[in-house]
């Protein structure tokens, strides 16, 4: 077994054990030992956090474990960042995220944000109770590929439809995705959204697909 293979195995085991000290220690030692930083992320940390996500999807990990592992992963990435060149730091895509006006529920949005960030996306978190126009303005300002909005209440859910319509009227070159406890795929389709996911792991896959599509459309 090569040194790097051993390092990545240790990272995987430590992250699945939620062992923060070991993850950070192994990461730092790998950097000190000359492991290329992009490789450390792509072949060490990312597969480990991906496995966490898969365990979450299978019901073997739950929200507390997911949050802690994402927190550990983020700290490890912070250790690696100073070693990356500007080109190596390029994000996989930009997402404008928020909970719509009148809705103050944020735990679901925060989990989606964490999972997108650990997957390498840059997320601009507008927070909760966000006016619809703010989503549009922020996309225009940043040229984000994705607008992601959530609503937990039956009373705020229709605003997701309004947001989709506002984005269409504004003609912005971005995909709009929606989520939240009462939202279902059928409803998201009726609202005209470009995508819907019932959970944070699915949201990452959705964003991966849609970023590629938006970039292809923009370059066409």
């Amino acid at each position: 077994m090569s040194d790097s293979t051993e390092i990545y195995s240790q990272l995987r085991t430590a992250l699945l054990d939620l062992d923060e000290a070991t993850v950070l220690d192994v990461t730092q030692k790998a950097l000190d030992g000359g492991t290329p930083p992009p490789e450390l992320i792509e072949e060490g940390l990312t597969p480990a956090i991906t496995e966490v996500g898969e365990q979450f999807e299978r019901g073997e990990f739950f929200l507390p474990e997911l949050l802690v592992s994402a927190d550990i992963f983020t700290k490890a990435i912070e250790l690696v960042k100073p070693y990356l060149t500007r080109e190596q730091s390029t994000s996989r895509g930009l997402v404008v995220l928020g909970t719509v006006k009148g809705d103050i529920h944020e735990i679901g949005k925060n989990v989606v944000k964490l999972m997108l960030e650990v997957a390498g996306f840059e997320v601009i978190d507008l927070g909760i109770d966000v006016p619809l126009q703010t989503f549009i303005d922020k996309q225009r300002e940043t040229q984000a590929e994705i607008i992601a909005a959530s609503a937990l209440l039956s009373s705020t859910m229709p605003l997701l439809k309004d947001l989709v319509e506002l984005a269409r009227q504004a003609g912005i070159p971005a995909a709009v995705i929606v989520g939240g406890a009462p939202v279902r795929e059928k409803l998201a389709t009726e609202y005209g959204a470009d995508g819907y996911s019932p959970d944070a792991v699915g949201a990452v896959r959705l964003v991966e697909d849609l970023v590629a599509k938006v970039r292809a459309q923009r370059s066409a």
Binding site: L18, P64, L67, S155
Partner: protein
Amino acid sequence: MMTSRERMEAAFQCKEVDRVPVFCEQGGINRRALGITYQEMVTNGELCALTDLAWHDLIGDDGVGVYFDTCVLAEAWGQPLIYLKEEPPFPDPEKYILKSPDDYHKLEPIDLMEAPRFREQLKGTEMIAELAGDEILPRTLSIEPFVTLGEMRGMQQLLMDCVRYPDDVRAGLEAVTDMEIEFCRKLIDGGVRWIMLCHDYGNASLMSEKMWLDLEGDCLKRLHRAIREKGAYLLVHDCDPNPYVDAAFALGDFDAYCLWSLPKGTADWYEFKRKYGSVCLNGHWEPTPLGTQRTYDQVVAESKQMIDELGPTGFILGPGCEFPQNGSIVNAVAMVDASKEAAGMKIEPRRLSSARGLTS
């Protein structure tokens, strides 16, 4: 014909009823009956009582009560809240009072009578108990200790603490449970006769069954026991798509169980009734479709199906969580009409009562 009180008590005891009782749990739509803001309703016990009586008269269901929001206890401990006109108050996310795991150990007992909004809730409870008289069984809603702790620490941080600092979290849960028991006892003294207790963390969306029982199981047993020993009926509520029903039943000491989603491993509602019908069941409408996506006729038809599945004894028809604020009131009425139709009763025109003081 039974009164609402008799009907609800019979349902809780799984005895025969003249028709299946309907309880339309709601979180704010009732204030539309009096045209007041959320903030007005949750800071004034009398207004809250009158609002709920007006809502009850409007739709004709079998439950009334004074319930403000989940944050009354957290606020009593000093947690700053943000009040809105159209939504319930919530903890200021910039000002959580439990700033570190050590702070879980610093939660000292509080005098609830020093807390303005608890005093208002108690005042409203006493008023609704008097106005409801022998006709209706007054209720309130209480929450599991995890919820209050999360309101003072931040839910995300609390969930991470459950992994990293479980003993500290346990200490916080014990302290909150003591006050939650006091909260319920005082409201029962004020006239509450049944309590809906939300098991919001007892489901797969938030944590494993093992973690939930390990951290909070003993606290919930204490809370369940205290409510029932004080003489109130206890309805346990879990509105998640994946509730830990078996675990909830293992905690014991309750009279009814409320949900809208079948637990894993249960094929249909008939099987659910066979497995869990030793207590009264309440539900199983999913709130959003009930309030915003169905027609009156659809609600009547599906409600009758639910009565067939889970009734007629030991069943309370209703949403498995709060009826939406923007829901159709006609759809709430449809549940009551369905109950009457299923029992072969005539559907009377609705009445608005001024006898209870609505116009005073």
